[in-house]
């Protein structure tokens, strides 16, 4: 599998805090990579560095064979990398359809063509009924799905999803999972998924990368990672992890 994204030794420092500390990994074309880790592990910072919103102090990001380190976000996006944001709360007056259209405008200048494409994507994500509502009238979970639809409008090769499932009920999580799988299979989009909803990330991902305190502490298949002592320590803390591991081992 050729690497679509190649991150090498990526380091981002805020004041004295190393939010990302020498992170290296690759994502192959067609893969779904889960990105997990406790709060403050540096997941969103990593997204910001990859997509150009932060400029890393050290390290390189290569995408589709080109070095994109330090490029501005819109140039990276135009190369075929889209993302959603952890917090997206709309205050404007755009409707759901119009928001999705803005994504499609990165591929066409024609409003009528953008409108057709946007309707198609909204239908595909089960948002067709909401098309004419102002986006600010949607609950946050709904807004995040609109953000996903908008990102898809750019027809990305790589899509970075930052906690799209937060705040959803189990039924909705199931629907979202189907939708993401659909995106992946039908459109051949490579995905990196930050998620706290383990059910989703463990079921979807081909491979999982675990961050803690800005470093990669484990990577591998979902089942392997779930049983990795280092990961359990990171999530539960030293003391409880020891107890848990004791109980788990026969």
């Amino acid at each position: 599998m050729p690497a679509l994204l190649e991150v090498t030794d990526l380091t981002k420092v805020f004041g004295g805090l190393r939010a990302n500390d020498g992170i290296s990994f690759t994502v192959g074309a067609g893969e779904i990579l889960g990105l997990i880790g406790p709060n403050g592990a540096g997941k969103t910072t990593l997204f910001h560095c990859i997509t150009g919103f932060h400029r890393p102090e050290r390290g390189t990001v290569r995408f589709d064979g080109r070095d994109i380190t330090g490029l501005p976000p819109h140039r990276i996006a135009r190369m075929g990398m889209a993302r959603t944001f952890q917090t997206y709360v709309a205050g404007g007056d755009l409707t759901v359809l119009e928001t999705a259209m803005v994504g499609c405008f990165s591929r066409t200048a024609s409003p009528s063509r953008a409108r057709i494409r946007a309707r198609e994507i909204l239908g595909f994500l089960g948002l067709a009924d909401l098309a004419d509502l102002p986006i600010r009238d949607l609950p946050v979970a709904g807004q995040k799905r609109v953000a996903l639809a908008t990102a898809l409008g750019t027809e990305p090769k790589l899509l970075l999803l930052d906690e799209v499932a937060a705040g959803l009920n189990p039924g909705e999580i199931g629907e979202l999972m189907d939708a993401i799988r659909h995106v992946h299979e039908e459109r051949g989009v490579t995905l990196i998924v930050i998620e706290h909803v383990m059910e989703l990330v463990m079921n979807l991902s081909d491979r999982v990368l675990v961050l803690d305190s800005g470093r990669v502490i484990a990577q591998g298949l979902p089942q392997e990672v779930a049983h990795d002592p280092a990961v359990i320590r990171a999530y539960l803390g030293e003391k409880y992890a020891a107890r848990y591991l004791e109980e788990a081992s026969p």
Partner: protein, 336 residues
Amino acid sequence: MEALRAAFDFSDFRPTERWVSRAVAAFLLVFPLLPVSSFATATMIQFLMFSLYGMGWNTIGGYGGQVDLGKAQYVGIGAYTTAVALIRWDVPFWVSMPVGMGFAVLWSFAIGYPLFRLRGHYFAIATIAASLVLKDLFEVWDFVGAARGLEIPAHRFATPDFVRLIFKEDVYYYYVLLAFFFGGVLYMNAFRKSRLGYQLRLIKDNEDMARSLGINVHWAKVKTYAIATAFVSMVGSFHACYIKNIEPEDTMSLDLSILIALMAMLGGAGSLWGPIIGAGILIPLKSYFKEWFGARAGLVGMDLILYALIIMVVSAVEPRGIWGLVERHRARRESA
């Protein structure tokens, strides 16, 4: 082609809005044929001019959400280009107007490029500062008449002169400007449905998201600023031929910049009708208040006091302006 169709397509407005706008258009067309005073015609010309200023402002200020308080400098560039060209080289209006727009757009790039690194209040104040610097320069620049300004020697030309846009009767000016006005409305109608229009509205709402979708936010703002500028400069050129007497103090003053922004904000920033409503209410009020109170001793400034109170009440009650009030009322009626 698609843009042209979009310009004439008002189908996404409600039937009542379409009927009202048709009625207003018809009224504007026949207005000079009615038995009206020359004062009323002059007021209507002011209304049309400020509607156009407001439409231009509305692209960047309304749809783009960047409160621009320096539009007067571009009124000045348009007005001075036309006046200087006519006085010195007898250049027709229809040539000097696009040339003026060209100068204004070039200047807007020079100013806009650094300016759009700023946001919010900082941006608004910087636009004022930039505009005042240009005005100060014009006040000492002898080529453009410095602080004395310029006067177009209208008596030298046989009127009506459609090439130089020199008329004796206001009614000619009225119809030329009305053509600009309808053109402006059509342009704005296409603009709000264009790629740039939608992108701007997302930028206003969420810049980071816009960036992540491949939009060069800075360039989109600079581009829109140039569009706004072209609009304003065009009306500035008209202003020169209409008023015939221009000086930095009235074509480039901060008061003018503020008035332009105020019209659009009061009417409803970011809506097609907003600037027209704003100008339609404020201009007649201003003219007639001045007429009523200005002449009476002891009531100097009374017109502007009432004017200020209206602005204050609207800003406190409904920040989306008068159009916002209309929409709120409509939403309430529909939910009831």
